[in-house]
């Protein structure tokens, strides 16, 4: 099965320092579920500016973990919430992002165990 993450950037950024890589990966793994929960709350409240803010903060994190597909989806959520267009697509996008984040999380946890 094709991997959904790529730690090439993180390896280069940390100089291959496994302790630092673990630190950053854990920060993303810890922050992600909270942000996803927040996005769901903001979606329920139709609070588009706050939804945009939550999506915005996840975007670079997905990039650093090399989670390209997740990054694309969160970018789409952010754009839709900012421009307040295609709002009917956001629930499905959020579900997709949750799934992709879950997949990425499993891979990242495995990576940490392999260090």
């Amino acid at each position: 099965m094709e991997k959904s993450t790529d730690l090439t950037f993180l390896k280069s950024f940390t100089g291959g320092d496994k302790a630092k890589m673990s630190k950053y990966i854990n920060m993303v793994l810890n922050a992600g579920p909270t942000q996803i929960q927040l996005m769901q709350t903001h979606l329920q409240n139709k609070d588009w500016p706050q939804l945009r803010t939550a999506a915005h903060s996840l975007k670079p994190q997905m990039s650093y973990m090399g989670a390209k597909k997740a990054e694309e989806v969160i970018k789409a959520i952010e754009n839709n919430a900012r421009e307040q267009v295609n709002l009917e697509n956001i629930p499905a996008q959020l579900t997709e992002f949750e799934h992709l984040f879950g997949q990425a999380s499993e891979e990242l946890k495995q990576e940490i165990q392999n260090f």
């Binding site: 950037f9 950024f13 630092k20 630190k23 950053y24 920060m27 993303v28 922050a31 706050q50 803010t53 939550a54 915005h56 903060s57 975007k59 670079p60 994190q61 990039s63 650093y64």
Partner: protein, 171 residues
């Protein structure tokens, strides 16, 4: 040589940590990190050389000051501090807007942002060196110009009084 002092302001702890780590690796900077613009502004009496400032600062504290407002306040209290704006938005109009308000540079967040931040510090240092040199050259030009004028006036006065010949003798 005095250490370059840098503030980093970002409400994303991961971004804050990564940028701090990266800049510390490059050189022995004095770096202080803040998660809100308000905290940064409370410490502006420290007169940092450079502030890396996030555009959106309200993901944790909902009604925190936004980056643009913080930028304007920084330029008011410390005009000599150079501010580099960071944002996830890859939009030219946002970049133009922050430059209008006095930012030195605008960096889009992502993998290349850390290298660009490093380059921004180098460019700021080089630009401030050029400014200092330009000021020095301006002073020297003025001094030499004034000295030349004085010598010329003295020569003319002496010639008028007949104390020196108009003919230098080799003609």
């Amino acid at each position: 040589m005095a250490k370059t002092s840098i503030f980093i302001v970002d409400d994303d702890p991961i971004q804050l940590d990564m940028l701090q780590d990266h800049l510390k690796k490059q050189s022995n900077y004095d770096i202080i990190a803040f998660s809100t613009g308000e905290d940064c502004l409370k410490n502006m009496h420290l007169k940092p050389n450079i502030v890396f400032l996030d555009y959106y600062l309200n993901s944790v504290v909902k009604d925190a000051m936004d980056g643009l407002d913080v930028l304007q306040e920084i330029k008011k209290v410390s005009p000599e501090t150079d501010v580099v704006m960071l944002s996830g938005q890859d939009k030219i109009d946002v970049a133009v807007e922050v430059m209008k308000y006095g930012a030195f540079d605008y960096i889009v967040k992502g993998e290349s942002a850390f290298y660009r931040a490093e380059k921004a510090v180098f460019n700021i240092y080089r630009y401030s060196k050029l400014k200092k040199n330009a000021a020095t050259y301006k002073k020297l030009t003025f001094i030499f110009g004034l000295a030349f004028l004085i010598v010329l006036i003295v020569i003319i006065v002496l010639q008028q009084k007949g104390l020196i010949s108009k003919n230098p003798g080799w003609v």
